[in-house]
Amino acid sequence: MKKRLVLMMALSMALAVPGCAMAEESTETAAETETVSEAAESETEAETDVKGEGVMTHDEYLAAETDAEVVVETYVQAKQSWWEDKATLYTQDKDGAYFIYNMPCTEEQYKELVPGTKIKVTGYKAEWSGEIEISDVESFEVEEGSYIAKPLDVTELLGKDELIDHQNEFVSFKDMTVEAAGQDADGNDVPFLYNYDGSGSQGDDLYFNVSSNGETYTFTVESYLCDKDSDVYKAVEALQIGDKIDMEGFLYWYEGVNPHITSVTAAE
């Protein structure tokens, strides 16, 4: 009897192996959040930013027509998301920024794209609702070199035409005042909303209003760039109307300026 049991157990284990292996093939991937602020300690300033052969300068990139093929060398500043072997990145060289949308890369490659990493990207220039970006990337390669941009203070440029010259760059905003973003169910003013109209819940994008020089602007914590566990997400959830704050983030564009904020601190 014991022999029979042993044989049956061996057989069941042998049969169970492939089933378990398949069940464990989970493909879930969490969007990583790595921002310049978090990597600031390892900041290294590139001495020169000489472009390789056939590579556009930032000015040439800006001058290129929409839908033209572009080749740029740039440095990863933050990673927004990765899925289905495609990455969306905020990148910048010493002359300006390049938003890279859905760049094909493996998860292993994505992990290596830490802030500062130099990459050469070949893709197409595109414009989506005012956002200039590189999409349909045909190839990219990691190159020698590292650069992390320091945030450019653009507070005084808010509301001015020149602001768009810094689209997608890592920027800062100083001494801005938190305004009401909307009202709660009881009609009370609230300092932030989940989704632009409050239709979301924790984990969705955060929207909040800040003012400077009498003008009010809507800023966003993009939940794929900085998720609900990030410091900036929690900081915005803790804001009070009237708070004076400094911020850092990327100057994203959607039908106008729509900064993706990565850091919020009390105004100095």
């Binding site: 029979r4 069940a23 989970s26 093929e69 106008g256």
Partner: protein, 537 residues
């Protein structure tokens, strides 16, 4: 403000989940659901409801009110709401949670997605018996609320929730696509807007709208930007064009017909009008509503569920007030090839119930799902966008009829464009169609859109669109969308995987030998036993 990549991710994630569930079979506890005789009100249940909204706070408020009202009627049931703004994210999360046996109880979804959920074992509860249960079914005698009878669900909408002859969902809301037209521009170009748009009309007017001034601005609007015709959903665009032409897309059992000569002819047509600047897509350029409202578009095709974003007086606007233009907005059916026999897609959210070990918990989930079809919820939710209620009970109600009669009274609840969009579907419900649902149908839909997106992008990048291009496109899209892994019966889980790997052959051989040894051993034991019994008889 709407978000782009959340919507993009949705499309991509659809592919990741597909074909991945068959390995879960047997790993989970059996959960064959049998309807309990009575619902145990003494036992507390906590159920989760994953709900989709159109980034619309009124909709989320309606969900919350529905939950509060339901919990008041069933104090032993607590409903936890999780909000989503796109179907693809729900789909991906469900796929992930099927693998860990942590699915929600009730979930807003598309029938296409349910077909994939069903490749996992005992995942989605078949509703056939629940629908007609005399106590807890639709219009059942033991319900605490006024539920519609099964006959009161619009039959066409209910049939869309049937997969392989079984109901796996209830329709929740229905919408279709509409063409939102800047009538002012159409007339400025010298045309009269017909009641039914044709593709010829759309292309002709769109071409006329591309005319430029000497300074490079567009003659029609004096601006630097003009995209006369933008389509939000290119998968719907291709599917609807093929349906109107009577051309193949897919058969009921999952045979793929998309890659045919009519498709090629349509792609050439789209390429021609892209080259002239008459056409673009949401994925390439942006939301049709934003271009329409900025006076940079003549024809914007989008869901009727997006009607509140359309027009000069739209209650929801995503562009700055100084960009907003004043014009007359008209709502029309999507353009047709045969105006006498119009065809448009039927779409909108459905709701399914996931299986659990405790039948009482499943019954609690079913009660809540069913409550979403009550007049209170149906009428309130349908008024938030250009949706229509899915029950004749709600559609015929005095409250809903009064709502329809007040078109244009304000630019919010009674916003004329929104009500026109709803009426469009109410008037043409019999002209709507759905595509066949099978495991892989979501990917086929994605492929249909991909064809248009790729052609449009390629034209913009000065590439030549010829037979060779289309042939390669068909091959690339087939591979990208894993359509080569879908068999004619739609059972992608049974796909041809080629010869077995050597390790599998070895393993199976070993297993065969073990089985042989076991059988020989048992046989020997049997012989020995009988011999022993014979000798000692």
């Amino acid at each position: 403000m709407k978000s782009r990549w959340k919507k993009y991710l949705a499309a991509g994630l659809v592919l990741s989940g597909m074909l991945s569930l068959t390995g879960c079979h047997g790993a989970k506890e059996e959960k064959n659901f049998v309807i309990p005789d009575t619902f145990d009100t003494a036992k507390n249940h906590e159920i989760t409801f994953w709900a989709k909204n159109d980034t619309n706070k009124t909709q989320t408020d309606i969900y919350k009110k529905a939950i509060a009202d339901f919990e008041a009627m069933y104090p032993n049931i607590t409903v936890n709401l999780k909000l989503y703004t796109d179907y693809g994210k729900i789909y991906n999360d469900v796929i992930t949670n099927i693998a860990t046996d942590t699915t929600p109880n009730v979930c807003i979804t598309y029938p296409d997605h349910i077909a994939t959920y069903l490749t996992g074992k005992d995942t989605v509860v078949p509703l056939d018996e629940l629908l007609t249960d005399e106590n807890y079914g639709l219009g059942g005698s033991s319900l605490a609320f006024d539920s519609p009878a099964k006959e009161e669900i619009i039959p066409q909408f209910l049939s869309e929730c049937s997969i392989d002859g079984h109901y796996y969902a209830l329709p929740f809301m229905r919408s279709t696509e509409a063409c939102y037209v800047n009538k002012t521009y159409v007339e400025k170009l010298g045309y009269t807007l017909p009641d039914t748009l044709t593709w010829d009309f759309i292309w002709e007017v769109s071409e006329a709208a591309t005319k430029k001034n000497a300074d490079g601005t567009y003659a029609l609007n004096g601006q630097d930007v003009m995209i006369p015709f933008i389509d939000k959903s290119t998968d719907n665009m291709m599917i609807e064009m093929l349906a109107q032409k009577g051309a193949p897309y897919s058969s009921a059992d999952g045979e793929i017909g998309l890659f045919n000569d009519t498709t090629k002819e349509l792609l050439f047509q789209i390429a021609e009008h892209t080259e002239s600047g008459a056409f673009s897509t949401f994925k390439i350029s942006g939301y049709p509503a934003n271009f329409l409202n900025a006076g940079q578009c003549v024809f914007a095709i989008d869901s009727t569920a997006g009607a509140t974003w359309m027009g000069s007086n739209a209650p929801l606007v995503d562009i700055s007030s100084d960009s907003l233009q004043d014009f007359e907005t008209e709502v029309r059916m999507i353009p047709q090839f045969d105006p006498e026999h119009p065809k448009m897609i039927s779409q909108g959210p459905s709701v399914c119930v996931f299986n659990k070990k405790d039948p009482q918990e499943v019954l609690a989930s079913w009660l809540f799902a069913q409550y979403l079809l009550s007049d209170e919820v149906q009428i309130a939710y349908s008024e938030t966008e250009g949706y229509v209620p899915v029950t004749s009970k709600a559609q015929d109600s005095e409250e809903y009829q009064e709502y329809l009669s007040r078109e244009g009274e304000d630019n919010n609840t009674y916003y004329s464009v929104k009500l026109q969009a709803s009426k469009l579907l109410l008037d043409h419900a019999e002209d709507t169609f759905v595509t066949a649902v099978f495991n892989g149908s979501a990917s086929l839909r994605d492929a249909a859109g991909q064809l248009i997106e790729n052609v449009t992008k390629s034209v913009r990048r000065k590439k030549e669109i010829d037979d060779a291009f289309i042939e390669k496109l068909y091959s690339d899209v087939t591979s990208l969308c894993h359509l080569d892994q879908i068999q004619a019966d739609g059972s992608s889980g049974k796909k041809e995987l080629g010869p077995l790997p050597k390790t599998s052959v070895v393993l199976l051989t070993v297993l065969g030998v073990i089985w042989g040894v076991i059988l020989l051993y048992l046989l020997a034991e049997l012989v020995k036993k009988r011999k022993y019994q014979k000798e000692n008889h």
